[in-house]
């Protein structure tokens, strides 16, 4: 295998590992802030304790997020030097701004961690959580604009020598893919963290822990998660309409949609015969693809047959897309069900099957994040910058990428094992019941 393949593998595994921690880094501060703010407002120590405990776990995950983020940041130049040379001029502003946002977050995270009891008025401490949210969310926004740029490059032109000129930094950042991508990334990160925290609470209730702390935690996170799951759905719908207009090949590959037509059906599951391009055993939902792509059944959706064969993305992205969408619907369903049972006030929301459904939702949400990113990235093949540079033109010419890939694989495996065991040990020793009692007596 050559450097191109190894570079792709190393980049893919670094990103796949990084986004787990990055998602937590973006979403969990929001919940910490909500819990602390609500606790101060209601004068309820349970929520304050929730914020404290979440923060303790968050620090561990954020550390892994920071270091793997550093890795991917530098790998852009190490593995794809020609890519950086070509568009370094165009994407450096958002990259630069991202480090600023990150700087801001890092400063206030240090302050937040070490000022829990230093201010007479707890609101001051709560206020320091706001810059953390701004920092983490804005760094997600800026880095997503870079990825959007790679999908729909804008804000520059190419001169005869093949160099980039007439750069408009703002237009490059606000390229067509930016709004829908940013909305989808933020909403899905928040909702995934909502389910992560909810699953922890549900897990303990299933284990027979009856302390009110767990119930409050589950209600808070589920209520927020339902809203966020619906927002994620809306953002996903926007992304579909964006793809239909700007990247029809990506959408068509996801849907195995070959013939350009109106009233296009949406295909779920199934098996594709790559020779004859016939789809078997799939569920067909009439008109749904036209609605996803344009908003009405009469919209025309461009099929893959209108796109040169060498520019087709791999057709297995269909399964990635289906997986992501199915999980998205499941998240709406389970959080909606929980809220419905809660509002009926008959205690049905503590049914073990509902709780099991919530515990299951957390890993599923992370899988959906991975699937969604894989779909977004693989669906752009063969381009690294759509219409401008192919992946094989951008990779490093250096040898030894295989050795690096092996070393980083070992590193990530070790980090995953150690981080998870540290987190488990951190919380197993110190139950919220015990901590609550200590805090009240102190």
């Amino acid at each position: 295998m050559d450097s191109v393949i190894w570079s792709r593998i190393l980049t893919a595994e670094t990103l796949a590992f990084h986004i787990i921690w990055a998602t937590i880094g973006v979403g969990v501060p929001v919940f910490i802030s909500i819990a602390e703010g609500w606790g101060i407002y209601k004068k309820d120590p349970h929520y304050i304790l929730m914020a404290r405990r979440w923060t303790r776990g968050f620090v561990i995950t954020v550390a892994v997020g920071v270091v793997t983020g550093t890795c991917i940041g530098l790998m852009l130049s190490l593995l794809w030097p020609k890519f950086m040379q070509l568009v370094g001029n165009v994407i450096s502003l958002p990259l630069f701004l991202e480090t600023f946002a990150f700087f801001f977050e890092a400063i206030f995270l240090g302050i937040y961690l070490y000022t829990w009891d230093r201010f007479k008025n707890p609101v001051w401490h709560w206020l320091t959580s706001i810059p953390i949210i701004i920092g983490s969310t804005m760094s997600a926004v800026f880095i997503t604009t870079v990825n959007s740029f790679m999908n729909t490059p804008a804000g520059f032109s190419i001169d005869e020598a093949g160099r980039v000129t007439h750069i408009d930094p703002i237009a490059a950042m606000l390229n067509p893919a930016t709004p829908s991508k940013v909305a989808h990334v933020l909403a899905s990160s928040y909702v995934t963290c909502g389910f992560l925290l909810a699953a922890i609470a549900a897990f303990y209730i299933l284990r027979g822990r009856t302390h009110i702390y767990f119930k409050k935690a589950l209600r808070l996170t589920m209520a927020a998660s339902f809203v966020l799951a619906v927002l994620t759905f809306v953002a996903g719908d926007l992304s579909g309409k964006f793809l239909a207009k700007y990247q029809p090949a990506k959408l068509a590959a996801a849907e195995w949609h070959f013939e350009t037509m109106k009233e296009a059906p949406l295909i779920f599951g199934g098996i594709l015969d790559e020779e004859t391009l016939e789809v078997k055993y799939a569920i067909k939902i009439p008109y749904a693809l036209s609605i996803l792509a344009g908003g009405s059944p009469s919209d025309q959706v461009i099929g893959l047959n209108d796109i040169p064969r060498e520019e087709w993305p791999p057709l297995y992205v269909h399964y990635l897309f289906d997986g992501m969408v199915a999980i998205g619907f499941y998240l709406i369903f389970i959080s909606g069900l929980y809220l419905f049972l809660w509002l009926r006030r008959k205690g049905g929301e503590w049914n073990p099957w509902v709780l099991r459904g919530i515990v299951l939702a957390a890993p599923l949400a992370f899988i959906a994040i991975e699937l969604g990113w894989m779909y977004a990235e693989v669906g752009r093949q063969p381009w690294i910058i759509v219409g401008l540079m192919r992946v094989d033109q951008a990779a490093t010419t250096a040898d030894n990428v295989d050795v690096m890939t092996l070393m980083f694989s070992l590193l990530y495996a070790a980090l995953a094992v150690v981080a998870v065991s540290v987190l488990i040990r951190l919380f197993r020793k110190n139950s919220p019941e015990k901590e609550m009692a200590e805090r009240i007596s102190a």
Binding site: V66, T70, L79, N89, S92, L93, L109
Partner: protein, 337 residues
Amino acid sequence: MQLEMIGITVLWIFLYGYLIVASIDFGAGFFSYYSMLTGKDHIINKIIDRYLSPVWEVTNVFLIFFIVGLVGFFPDTAYYYGTALLIPGGISLILLTIRGSFYAFANYGARKSRLYMFLYGATGLFIPASLSTVLTISEGGFIEETKNGVVFHADRLFTSPYSWSVVFLAIVSVLYISASFLTYYAYKAKDFPAMEQLRTYALFWSGPTILASLLVFWGLSKHNPEHFASAVSIGWMFGASFLCFCVAVYLMWKKENLGLSFVFVMFQFAYAFFGYGISHMPYLLYPYVTFQSALTHSTMGWALVIAFIAGLFLLIPSLALLLWLFLFNAKYVRGEK
């Protein structure tokens, strides 16, 4: 001022900032582990933890800022350095990753682990060594542009006396800067046993630092005579650096004005570092990339400068708040809050 001058100046200032804060951090990791081995951890670890815990992440950002800024202002450097540095850059990254994450595991996790402390301490010396190779490579002779692309001669790097003198300087200055700062910090905390211990470290490492600097000069004169000549022409900066060194060590020796002593350490390295930077000009990578040739498109360059100034308005007050809360807050430093 010209755009490229602003760019390189800003970046060099940030790299200097990283040099100081990272040295404190790297050295602290080493001293932490060393004191654990020698059974003195109860004396100095509290001081080190109090300082490091709130700021370690900020330290990391200085480096990222420099790299992103360099690639942003001078995209050609991404091509040359990116291709050449795959192995050394990858190793630095792995070390940084281990260090950052294990710091959090050791300090926010449930218990202190000897293994975590070892990883944290050992990487504290390997990272400056691996990062300093980039400065060596920038002197030329290790990267060659051929028809098939950029080639990096790792063997030449490993056998070059200049390269090893730079590594040696990086490691000893890390220990020297770190010990000087921590001595001052312990003094502020009125933790006199820790101060004594750290002061001996600072004095111990001051000699090798100067010796290593001389070695680097000698190595440079062999490796890149052009750069060496240019350094000699601004020799007064290196003289000033040496003077600051003498004042810093004198104050440390006398146990007077330890804060001022550290300020002189900072001046010592500022003179040397900026002297090195100025004499390095105009090359970012000898002889392929100069700071004029690699310059970014000017619209983007100005956008970066504007973003930088706007960012500073946000960062400086925040950093000041951080310092005020943790560094210059007597109660926090003494561990009362």
